[in-house]
Symmetry: C2
Subunit: 212 residues, 2 copies
């Protein structure tokens, strides 16, 4: 059952949530069918790429017709494990962290932030966006207890690595790292970096050196 999934290219995997969300919109607006050309227009991905992406999962469409929105949707729902929710913790309730807590991921996603941690005792004990904030010293214990598998890291850069170091025995499998620190972690933990300053600077570089 999972056999074929391993063969899906990473580039495709990254687009799946995009497809899924747009299909939900289509479905909500009552659309029954959709072509790869229409999807291409909406989400700015080449139509051939879309067709190839879908084809990794088998022949989901019909020639001369397109794709049935509802069928596609229920298919992706299974593929993206929409049925089971992944538990997430947030470490660092600063401005960025607070933004995440107010963001209601569960709406469109299979992920839910269940716990938050901060070093500031003003924040400890509060509940932000429905998520309780605990003291950061408790995070190892509580992550284990609550079977959390993903951490969103929005702490100041100078404490990032030391927190990552304590992540080893908590059962954490993935870190979404918003600090500029390039974390050193054990092999079994996957880290995705989102470096806001780098993103902005890269955009500026592209604007200047790759004029459209």
């Amino acid at each position: 059952m999972d056999i074929d999934q391993t063969k899906i290219p990473q580039a495709t995997a990254k687009r799946l949530p995009l497809y899924y969300r747009y299909l939900k919109n289509l479905s909500a607006s009552g659309k029954q069918r959709v072509s790869s050309a229409e999807l291409s227009d909406a989400i700015k991905v080449d139509s051939a790429t879309i067709r190839r992406d879908f084809s990794y999962f088998g022949a989901l469409g019909k020639k001369g017709y397109g794709y049935n929105v509802h069928y596609l949707l229920s298919f992706f729902s299974k593929t993206l494990d929409q049925d089971e929710t992944t538990k997430v913790a947030l470490i660092g309730v600063g401005n960025l962290g607070t933004a995440f807590l107010h963001y209601n991921f569960i709406k469109n996603n299979n992920t839910k932030i269940e716990l938050a941690f901060d070093a500031d005792s003003e924040k400890v004990g509060q509940e932000i966006g429905g998520v309780p904030v605990y003291h950061i010293d408790e995070f190892q214990k509580r992550l284990k207890e609550n079977d959390v598998s993903v951490v969103i890291l929005t702490v100041p850069v100078h404490v990032a690595q030391s927190i990552a170091d304590q992540m080893d025995e908590t059962g954490i499998k993935g870190i979404l790292n918003f600090t500029p620190a390039r974390l050193t972690v054990p092999d079994h933990i996957r880290v995705h970096h989102i470096d806001l300053a780098v993103e902005l600077q890269a955009l500026v570089y592209f604007m200047k050196h790759y004029p459209v």
Copy 2:
């Protein structure tokens, strides 16, 4: 002068800000020389990739020695146009937008958020993180007046496209889009998408289907 720059692979261009920032750290801590192996350890990029990236700009290092930190730094400084500051505006002073305003980009970067806009009259007139907040109705006028070339878009998704539509004649060349909307814009505007929900979902997908 810009002739060769066009040939730099996009993947390399995205790593340049990363290199630059780490070199600044090295320089600040008084380090004189550095090897590609050391850099590789620190920023988690293969050493051969680093050497190749640098080589696009010519022979910046010395065999048997490595790279002179100060020389590299002054070189990248020119390449990334660190001398001139790019003016940035932020549209949408919600949680995420506020996070940006408190983030002091100018420290490590050649970018500065100079104006912010919001529809909420409570926020208009305030100054957050030293940045004045104006009413969103004024953004076309003020962007033109202030010669802003980049916009960070942190508004609710349902207004994103209509704001993008008004961006045409403001002189904006780049948009850092944090909304899930895949914007349709004129050719001369470059859009980079950072889709937080997608990033989280992609991480979860990779964790489940590409175990390390």
